[in-house]
Symmetry: C2
Subunit: 658 residues, 2 copies
């Protein structure tokens, strides 16, 4: 039975939830396929996540390995293939709780960096799981700065081998997933030396564990790096190499090769390789970042309509906490952001598909823009969504703090996305570098890529809004975002130039502007996200019922951004103080409007109870019952030796006194 406080929210939906779900999936057929995958995975007890919050790191790892092995069988049974339409739903259905994800990266790096001969040798073995691969790039001492990696690979002409070494502790490989306990092979990135000369970082296939008994190979020291904030199911590992010899053929040689006599040869262009790094940043957005935020919104919003606390009106029943303006102001902007980023993800995917087609035609012109967009949006979306999940967690009070709410795990996992695949500050500075370059070019009348042409058209006008309703016009707010992005880019570009003119060295000048450069990069991405949301809403004309609520969310996303960052818009008077009061009024009005559809809007994300794995977010809203039943199963409710050992001696002789 559904909690009546939740049921009543669904009766008044202003739109068809099913139609919105289909829109998010990219069509009703996709929804059907997704649900079939979810059904198959969730009905299989091996994939259950019910005990997850009770398990130790060791238990989590073992479960993840078991699932990964079982998944192979399942895929075969179900007729699912890696190229089939079901594939992209499998990971989501498993909530990522599976081992051997690095095995895919191992395969991808061989496919991209290996010669045809290497691909022919290794890919079939990997596909059949006759080995388990990993990817060993990051070291204890180096993550961001790849050129600084310290592992060495010295070519020995006599034996036609590379000799790999970890020359000092900071050179130890650290973090590679699946490497701590599972992998038999890994791709090691090392400084290549031939005849004493260093040729920089290159990739080498290295076997690290015996295929016979899984013992470590000679010269290899490897293990697990220990407990982390999340990812208990992954055996992130360390690796020390001591005079490990591998055949010459194990250096991945699509782009560079060491010939038998030690001659170093470069082949073709590596640009496609940079493109791969760029697409990884985009591909993680959906599964690793948007899904967790959508789950967190679902949990927090459903909970906020079944939790009643205190009274809004004296003498009445206690109010649903979502009826408090402060609760709306916490949760509804996160909901709007989840939609905004879903649509920008569609936009980026499309752009990258186009980029890929161009690159295959040997046209690399789009690369700088794609790199800037993927860096900037990876940073902005991971940051925004991580903050959003945290807000959802806190908005559920004490119950949000229980692991059984599902929110702590969502938070501790999404947090990592701000760090991996490029630390966010570094990425934003890459976007900023592109922006400054394009701004200078545009100012000099040179052509620039499409996403930054707006930088050329610096307008010095004022916002034309006359009343609070004007701020519900996408033209008005999109223009405001554009104005801020241009202002921050141009003023920071000017600051860099002024510093250099005043005699400050170029690198120092850059460093002295980085705080502001980061702001400019964020403003650029925020502008594009708002603009894209507005354009998406416009295209929904045919879907009248959905268009209206999406328009509200778009307005909320835009106005929340202004409300939370008023200074950027007030600074040069583009928006006046009186107009800012209108923004605030419109923004607060919108909260009350969207609140009415809040539950249908999260229902449309279409998460099953099993995938939420939350005592607070279930579809039926029987929150308290579920918390109680679940808590009783906790291992902390088993007998503890603490009483006999410590409490009994302490509580001596108390009876007589009572």
């Amino acid at each position: 039975s559904v909690n009546p406080d939740l049921a009543s929210e669904r009766q008044t939906a202003s739109f068809s939830v099913e139609k919105l779900t289909a829109l998010l999936d990219g069509g009703a057929e996709q929804t059907r396929i997704r649900r079939a995958v979810v059904e198959a995975i969730e009905s299989d007890p091996v994939f259950s996540r019910e005990n997850q919050y009770f398990q130790t790191q060791n238990e989590r790892y073992e479960t993840a390995v078991r699932k990964a092995v079982h998944l192979q069988k399942k895929m075969h049974e179900m007729g699912w293939t890696e190229n089939g339409p079901e594939y992209k739903y499998i990971y989501r259905a498993l909530s990522g709780d599976v081992a051997f994800l690095l095995h895919r990266i191992f395969m991808r790096s061989i496919s991209v960096l290996g010669s045809d001969k290497q691909i022919a040798k290794w890919i079939p073995l990997a596909t059949q799981h006759r080995l388990i691969g990993s990817y060993a790039q990051t070291e204890l001492g180096h993550g961001t700065y790849l050129q600084g990696l310290e592992t060495t690979a010295v070519f020995d002409t006599a034996t036609q081998e590379f000799i790999l070494n970890t020359p000092k502790i900071s050179a130890m490989k650290w973090w590679p997933g699946d490497m701590g306990r599972s992998a038999t092979h890994t791709v090691v990135f090392a400084q290549l030396y031939v005849h004493g000369k260093c040729y920089g970082i290159h990739p080498f296939i290295v076997q690290i564990r015996s295929l016979r008994d899984h013992s470590l190979c000679p010269g290899i020291t490897a293990g697990d790096i220990g407990p982390k904030m999340n990812f208990e199911h992954i055996d992130n590992g360390y690796l020390l190499l001591k005079n490990v010899r591998i055949p010459r053929e194990n250096m991945l040689s699509k782009f560079c090769e060491v010939q038998p006599d030690g001659t170093y040869v470069r082949h073709g262009s590596q640009k496609i390789n940079y493109f791969t790094m760029t697409t990884v940043r985009i591909s993680l957005i959906s599964d690793e970042v948007l899904t967790p935020l959508m789950k967190a919104c679902t949990i927090a919003i459903r909970y906020s309509v079944v939790r009643r606390q205190s009274k809004l009106k004296p003498g009445e029943q206690e109010a649903k906490i979502l009826d408090y303006q402060t609760q709306q102001e916490k949760l509804l902007p996160q909901l709007a952001a989840a939609y905004a980023f879903h649509f920008i993800n569609d936009y980026l995917q499309e752009l990258f598909n186009r980029g890929y087609r161009e690159i295959q035609r040997k046209n690399f012109d789009m690369l700088p823009e794609l790199h800037a967009l993927s860096s900037g949006f990876k940073a902005v979306i991971t940051q925004h969504c991580t903050a959003g999940v945290e807000i959802c967690l806190r908005a559920c009070g004490g119950h949000g703090y229980s692991l059984l709410s599902g929110l702590p795990s969502l938070y501790t996992k999404i947090l990592a996305s701000c760090i991996y695949e490029g630390e966010n500050t570094i990425l934003l500075l890459q976007t900023a570098r592109f922006l400054i370059k394009c701004f200078m070019a545009a100012s000099a009348g040179q052509p620039v890529p499409p996403s930054v042409t707006y930088l050329a058209a610096v307008k010095h006008g004022k916002c034309p809004a006359k009343n609070k309703l004007d701020f519900l016009s996408p033209d008005i707010y999109t223009e405001a975002y554009q104005h801020v992005a241009v202002r921050l880019t141009s003023s920071t570009a000017a600051k860099v130039q002024d510093l250099i003119k005043s005699g400050v060295k170029k690198h120092d000048a850059w460093n002295q502007c980085t705080v502001q450069l980061v702001q400019a990069a964020k403003a650029h991405c925020h502008y594009i996200a708002v603009k894209n949301f507005a354009e998406t809403v416009e295209k929904l004309e045919a879907k009248a019922g959905i268009q209206k609520i999406m328009k509200h969310l778009c307005d909320l996303f835009a106005l929340h951004g202004i409300f939370s960052n008023t200074g950027a818009f007030l600074h040069d008077g583009y928006i006046s103080a009186a107009q800012m009061d209108m923004v605030t009024a419109s923004y607060l009005d919108l909260l009350a409007v969207i609140r009415k559809d809040a539950v249908p809007l999260v229902d449309a994300f279409d998460f099953t109870d099993k995938s939420l794995n939350s005592a607070l977010g279930s579809y039926d809203g029987q929150v308290y019952q579920r918390l109680y039943e679940w808590a009783q199963k906790s291992p902390t409710n088993q007998m503890s030796p603490a009483y006999e050992r410590y409490l009994k001696p302490l509580l001596h002789n108390a009876l007589s006194k009572l």
Copy 2:
């Protein structure tokens, strides 16, 4: 041996670390006592926290109970008493990792709410640990709104007993610490019914476990609520009562009593009781909030001078990451906040001591102001410090994400402080209610408490700063903060009034302004924090060496607040755009200045390596060595059954192919 990159930071300190430590401790003698306690605790292996990051929730609980029992012995051995000068350092030295903290709350509630007879009976038993107490207030369905608690206590005149019941699932007690597995007794808050009439919430002493064998008493169902984001060492519990009978004497009756015939009698004033709730909020700031932020700053800043990554200047050595402006901008404002809040904590403690003296003289005039300040500062400081710890964690990149850095545990623990002892949004609205009331009174020419007299003096001037150095003048920035606090309070008061005048009901009008009321309350606290820091610096005249660096930190704290919230200052033009650029310039300049003393400034917090329990923050800065050695001890490096069970069958027959 100390990492030379860390050692060099200490050689250039602009002040005496030892003198600053003494200042923070409140005198060199206090430093001496604190260090003696730390030495005694840390040299005792029972109190070791080294394995903490490897332990399960059950192991954490058992260790905490063991420590609590051992602590009794230790205190006796050392001659430490609960009233002695050492007491306040014990909890800090244990990093809070000990059981039976609720036992103290149990005792305090009896002391405050119990009759002399009840105190005489229970306090000696509790002091001698002949029982273990807890405090059962929060229920599954009610936390914030105490009037809504649903547990019932019905007086039975025939047997002179109260009959306690949990009438429905939401009425179950939920969260009380030490109750899930340890406590034998607890203070239960329940709705009192006599002859069918409800008299509201009252406290009752209830025995829940046998003193003979620790089994649950008749009618009691209790257990552990399961895994949480942190506090694994505490057995937060649930409690169901079914017709549990307790003698009439077990209702704590200092303020209210049920006489044998069922007559309900009130005694004296309960105001002192409200004061107790208020002091709890202040007392948690130091141990639960400031210490974690100070530890996080210590870890992140020490790490940031031994971590080198990428090059600032081409051709040179890789740079310490603290030399990047973006890293300074993450960490140094947190350091400044730690000092700012340390000093505001001193201010609040002093104010509360004065309040306590007044209250003992039956003068309750200070209560509303103390309530507003304790609520507001509890919220603002917990929020700010939680965000600060998260920033420190992220600023350490991947290594910050390892539990071995110490940062994840600091974060997951401090986060709870935003929720317990009053949810922050609720608390800020209480402060706001006080502000609005005082603003109206002040506007009508009535007297108001000292901390809000400034609300009466609404000035409409502009900020007089003429260049960036002017913004290093405490008068200039304190005035700006004051201006914003007055503006937000007065404009929100006006909005509430306008809504009511336009016909909106009072409670609706209030709800529609709560987002802005929260902003006003924050601005008020921020203003007082800045003003207090500036005044503290001024009083350091005699300590010239320390005064200078404290002045820098005060400036940074103030300017960071403006820089992060420019809109509030720009809104009505109090600070102009040109002046805001000066603020930015001064702020960024300050980062480079304070960066030079960053390590000495965290050294002054005087944390031992054992208390930090961090691979990144050790005094010697041997970061990589420590991470590696520690990781090797992780239980995840023991043999796993996963190979035999899952991997071996998968990796069949691979050998022949390689």
